[in-house]
């Protein structure tokens, strides 16, 4: 084993305990490197060597109650805390077995170390970890924390709403610079990946539709298929999912790290509300950037469909564009774009909320970032489903 090899290479100290009747001798270097071997040796099977050594006091001593046993340390080459602890543990075992260990011949520094390690306070120093709760308790606790989280989220949404209203009343307090910066990072910088993804999606839709449409000779309707599915559903949804992965996670990680390093508290103390500085600009920027990204995604998705329609179905670009005019209404476009600001609000609020939920350490930042992405994608899809139901009822 690799670890074994490494350990044995680094350390070749010899440590042994020689047992002769009622006399024990510690020999060699009782250090952390030798402790593993010693521990193993002492706990040898079937009965521990220690038990064997102390287990058979003769009858006379048994009646005397306590039989002395000497432990000689004059041949110790080195002793460190690990070795000292092992020795102390042995002494404790002997004492519990009714023997009276006597330490002899230890060097003063070793005696000091043994004393320090063996202080009574230290022997009590192993608090038992709390026992694991049962299934019912775990379920209950989980439900309780979930309810708590939910109400905290509602609280956060309320606070953001109030802060937004305050900014709307006093536009002078709006922080334009971070808004513009966030539009660039969340919107402009996402153009390549969002464009590529929906373009490929357009190709996939057209290709899947092509085999079916060809059978009925309805090739031209590929424009309906691509246009409607892209504009109404796929491009807003895909764009939102990409942005949730790119920017929602970044929001959670940024705010979370700021919380760990107490920058959030610092903002408060200099009189800048963290919501104004960190959340509102992101919300506003995403509410602007996501609809724009969606328009761009509409165009590229349809373009992907057009490319596929020409190669697979022989529908040229002019025919495709002509058919698109008849197939689509303005409402189809607006339905898609209209969802985008809602998705933007979900992504930014969840991302920021999870960021503020970070407590303590680096692992918490990672966990909250993951949760923010999963939750915002989940909620975006739920919202999309709700939109579909509502639009169907309204007949749009």
């Amino acid at each position: 084993m690799d670890a074994d090899r490494r350990v044995s290479q680094l350390a070749a100290p010899e440590a042994t305990l020689e047992i002769e009747g009622d006399a024990m001798r510690c020999v060699g270097a009782w250090t952390v490197d030798a402790a593993a071997g010693l521990e193993h040796w002492l706990a040898g099977r079937p009965r521990t060597r220690l038990e064997r050594a102390i287990g058979e006091p003769d009858g006379k001593e048994r009646t005397a109650g306590r039989a002395g046993i000497s432990i000689d340390g004059s041949e110790l080459v080195a002793l460190d805390t690990a070795g000292a602890w092992l020795l102390q543990r042995m002494v404790g075992t002997l004492a519990n077995a009714g023997r009276r260990p006597v330490l002899t011949g230890f060097r003063p520094e070793h005696t000091a170390l043994l004393q320090m390690v063996g202080e009574p306070a230290m022997r009590a120093a192993f608090p038992a970890p709390a026992s694991a709760p049962g299934l019912l308790a775990r379920v209950g606790r989980l439900a309780w924390t979930r309810i708590g989280r939910g109400s905290e989220l509602l609280e956060f949404i309320g606070e953001v709403g109030i802060a937004a209203a305050r900014s709307a009343v006093r536009p002078a307090r709006i922080r334009w610079r971070p808004i513009l910066y966030n539009i660039r990072t969340a919107g402009f910088d996402a153009l390549p990946i969002a464009g590529l993804l929906v373009f490929l999606m357009g190709i996939v839709i057209a290709y899947q539709g092509a085999t079916q449409l060809k059978r009925y000779g309805a090739n031209i309707f590929v424009a309906d298929l691509v246009g409607l599915s892209m504009l109404r559903e796929l491009s807003p949804l895909l764009t939102a999912i990409i942005v949730a992965g790119r920017s929602g996670s970044a929001y959670a990680a940024q705010i979370g790290t700021m919380k760990v390093t107490e920058e959030i508290d610092a903002l408060r103390t200099v009189g800048i509300p963290p919501l104004d500085q960190l959340v509102l600009p992101k919300l506003a920027a995403l509410a602007i950037a996501l609809p724009l990204l969606t328009v761009y995604a509409d165009a590229l998705g349809v373009a992907g469909g057009m490319v596929m329609a020409r190669t697979e179905l022989g529908v040229g670009f002019p025919e495709f564009a002509d058919r698109l005019q008849h197939a689509l209404y303005l409402s189809d476009f607006l339905v898609g774009i209209g969802k985008a600001p809602v998705f933007a609000a979900i992504i930014s609020v969840i991302g920021c909320f999870q960021g503020f939920q970070v407590a303590g350490d680096a692992e918490s930042v990672g966990h909250r970032t993951t949760v923010s992405v999963v939750q915002s994608i989940f909620l975006v899809i739920v919202a999309d489903a709700l939109f579909s139901v509502v639009f169907a009822r309204l007949g749009i």
């Binding site: 074994d4 350990v7 680094l10 402790a35 593993a36 460190d80 520094e109 306070a121 303590g360």
Partner: protein, 264 residues
């Protein structure tokens, strides 16, 4: 206090060390020796290159030129195995503790033992508890996470981790920074005790004058990437070097020195 004059083996030898970060020269020919069994302090103003020297000693940064020998071995161009062997023989206390936030204090202290020895989990937990008690923390601290501890307790927990493998050499980076005076004084005492008990050699970087007076056997004083004085605090305080005098005879330096005399 140490016994200057007694010949001891140098554990760390630095010769003609030069370091640059781009245009900025951090070390300009630093040489120093740290002897076995002493508490050696590297003092100096912020940004004079103290911490960088520490990082170079513990193999976290590579100097541009010059040689560093630790335990008699040249540490430049060590292989992974050799570097590991060296690292096992020293412990490092980082300025902000650098405890792993996802592990409890006890797990933090046990981590080096788990990684480098084949001890049973039970024995590791016990040794961790011994180290935690050694550094003056209550037993209950072992089950807590670093984020639940105060700054002083975190320092002690980090110290417990640094001595987990019973190193021969201990590096302390600003051990008292961020502690209140009482905790800092307690920490001074702790460092001295541990040195006596475990036979450690300690190399520390600090600008805490109290710590220098009370704990350090020898002090090297660094200004602008050069060592301008080495010796005991008494020797340094009599130095004619203007930069050293400025440091020791500034308002805080004088206070710390008077305190130190009073204690004697």
């Amino acid at each position: 206090m140490g016994e200057p004059g007694r010949a001891r083996e140098p554990i760390i030898t630095v010769r003609a060390l030069c370091t640059r970060f781009g245009e900025a020269v951090v070390h300009d020919g630093v040489s120093l020796d740290v002897c076995e069994g002493e508490i050696f302090a590297l003092a100096g103003a912020s940004g004079c290159g103290k911490s960088t020297l520490l990082r170079e000693l513990i193999l976290l940064h590579r100097p541009d030129s010059g040689s560093i020998r630790v335990f008699g071995r040249d540490i430049s161009g060590l292989g992974d195995e050799e570097a590991l062997a060296l690292r096992r023989n020293w412990g490092v206390l980082f300025e902000r503790g650098a405890l792993f936030g996802s592990l409890t204090v006890s797990e933090n202290v046990g981590l080096p033992l788990r990684e480098h020895t084949r001890l049973s989990d039970r024995l590791i937990d016990e040794i961790a508890a011994v180290k935690i008690a050694l550094t003056g923390l209550p037993p209950s601290a072992g089950l807590k996470y670093p984020s639940e501890l105060s700054g002083g307790m975190r320092k002690r927990a980090a110290l417990a981790r640094a001595i987990a493998l019973d190193p021969k050499l201990l590096f302390l980076d600003e051990p008292t920074a961020g502690l209140d005076p009482l905790s800092a004084a307690g920490f001074d005492e702790l460092v001295r005790q541990l040195k006596e008990l475990l036979g450690l050699t300690i190399f520390m970087v600090t600008h805490d004058l109290d710590l220098l007076w009370r704990v350090a056997d020898r002090v090297a004083f660094m200004v602008g990437g050069r060592i301008v004085g080495v010796g005991t605090m008494q020797e340094l305080s009599k130095s004619q070097e203007p930069l050293v005098r400025e440091y020791f005879y500034g308002p805080r330096g004088r206070g710390a020195r008077e305190q130190a005399w009073k204690r004697k």
